[in-house]
Amino acid sequence: MASEVTKYPVDSLTKKGVAAHLTVTILLLIVLMSFGAIMLLNQANLVKVTPTIFYSVMTVHGAGMVGAASLGGCAVLWYFLCQYVPLNPKILMINLWMSVIGVVLILLGVFGFGFTDAWTFLYPLPAFSSKFYGTTGPMLFFFGLLFIGVGYLIVYLEMGIKISRKYGGLFNGLGWAQIFGKGGDYGPPGAVVAATMNVIANSVGILAGAFVIVASILNIINPNIQIDPLMAKEFTYAFGHIFANCTIYMAVAGVYEILAMYTKRPWKSNKVFLIAWNFSTLFTLMIFTHHLLMDFAVPHWLLIMGQIFSYANGLPVMVVTAYGALMIIYRSGIKWDMPSGLMFLSMFGWVAGAIPAVIDATIVVNHVMHNTKWVPGHFHTYMGLGVIIMIIGFMYYYVKVECGRRENEFDKVSAAIYSVFFLGLTGSFLYAGKIGTPRRWAEHLPNWILSDRVGATCAIIIIMCTIFFATRFIFRLNSQQRNISSGNDLNEKPLMVK
């Protein structure tokens, strides 16, 4: 593989699609964060909502946050991937509309027709609930998820086909030619490798989700059509785990591109990098079993593998991606601004989130911490300080490169406040998990309330920062677009160098 890589300009329809994805993402984040705050305030006894409202809000918060992170991650990945592999921008717009329709159906199902069975909709709960609350709610919710899933399958089909055409097969997108010594020292750019991983892993995850959703729909229509609850749970978590994980594997394309651009140091996909991504693909597909560690009916060897491979899954990020970010920054003379600073910070968030996740994947620890607030503690860390930070960092990069707008000190202060209080929020969750607070409880016992109050306070401040980011992004997006090609020549980007 030649080390010189041809880059293509980003066309106007792609820019519109990316900007629209980011706008919907940040607006959804504000609404969904507010839902999160409502839950915390209720658990903290500071406001009172009914259990129906609490669990409705919880269902939308869970489904919506994963969906919003995925939309934002998709925008980041698409923007950089299309500079190496020309993509049809209409597909991006189709995905956006499929997601918007999906979100509307989910909101209707939850708030209009009383679906409250959480975004993990564990079979046979939806069919059971539909006996009391009707079938319209779950149907709308499930079809909403299907719309969103199909949108991403179309995106991955487009990415997969174009990567295969350019690199001679999907596996070469993961650098197999270089790994097996047939294609030079360096594989495709990081964005291409990340895209290939997502195409493979998330397509499998979405298909697993589609299977269990269709089975649940059939079970609601005709209760005689049943599947094994344990198998359904395995498929549900295969979907949920892979889809949630892929949000960060999509958004990380921004880290590779932006940090390399700012430091003027290449982030080359050498063999170690490629092998790490291949293992990430494999592990992401395998390790959903750590969600079933407390299902003793699962063959024990599979659960033991769940622990071992969950540990191993931390290696690619800890040893390659985060380490690579530290290495590329070290004594680089980088200009720190919102994009570069947030991309760097996101790597901290990713690894910091992986630590409690790996600990919870230890079976003996899981025995006393599974389904406590320790679990949202770890995934809020990698979502809020990893994925969302990457997406917000990319928003600032986007308006800087495409709209020529500079940031100010308020942006930096807001980012600092957001990060500190997000650490406070996740710290409150992890502490709550330590003292045994169950997750997904509308009402909390008195000794759990202190951590809820800390969490609620942090959440409110985080929301204010996010509103600020959204306002800055949307208003600056409307400004005159600069006529510069995207990401081709660092010398054309005086905004990024000192």
Binding site: P229, R265, M294, Y323, F344, I359, N371, W374, K434, P438
Partner: protein, 184 residues
């Protein structure tokens, strides 16, 4: 105990991670050639990789030797030493076949559900989570617990099961050895 270990290890490692990121951030003001940095950092990465892998292997070796799926090895490995109690979960209550517990009892709970998925979590009087297992329709999961101290224990649902999830609490009383009526 394990919760405290998990918390301490997490806080310590996140703090170490923060320190490392902060040091690299501070170093970024200087500018040096990348090639020597790559050479040096790649060498260090091998050590870093093998340190993590070795640590993980050691942790796995010790933690996987005592799993909650089996009868605890420190008890006399005989089912006769365990009192068998059937647990049936249903929205939003727990039904136990036997609720007569005494301090020191080794209990094997056979947990299932008659409707949807639930989570059987046993808390002691200080609300420490002692152990849990999923309650799934069509399956019976066995969990082994020992009531080491007398007192009021609680069973909480740890898998979301619909609107009454948070109300799915059952209290059980473990009597002290010798027959006093209440634990405290």
């Amino acid at each position: 105990m394990l919760q405290q270990v998990a918390w301490t290890v997490t806080v310590s490692l996140v703090f170490l991670l923060f320190l490392f990121f902060a040091l690299v951030f501070l170093s970024s003001r200087k500018q040096e050639d990348y090639a020597p940095i790559i050479k040096k950092w790649y060498k260090a990465r091998s050590w870093y990789f093998w340190t993590i892998v070795t640590t993980m292997a050691i942790v796995c070796f010790f933690t996987l030797s005592k799993l909650p799926y089996h009868m605890p090895h420190d008890q006399e490995a005989s089912a006769a030493n365990y009192k068998s109690v059937d647990v049936l979960a249903a929205q939003f209550s727990w039904t136990l076949s036997d609720e007569d517990f005494t301090e020191g009892d080794n209990v094997k709970f056979n947990v299932t559900s008659k409707d949807v998925n639930h989570g059987f979590g046993v808390y002691d009087e200080n609300m420490n989570l002692l152990g849990q297992v999923q309650a799934m329709p069509g399956y019976t999961n066995e969990i082994y617990l020992t009531f080491k101290t007398p007192g009021k224990y609680k069973i909480l649902c740890l898998e979301y099961c619909s609107l009454g999830h948070h109300a799915m609490i059952k209290e059980i009383v473990v009597k002290p050895k010798g027959g006093a009526t209440n634990g405290k």
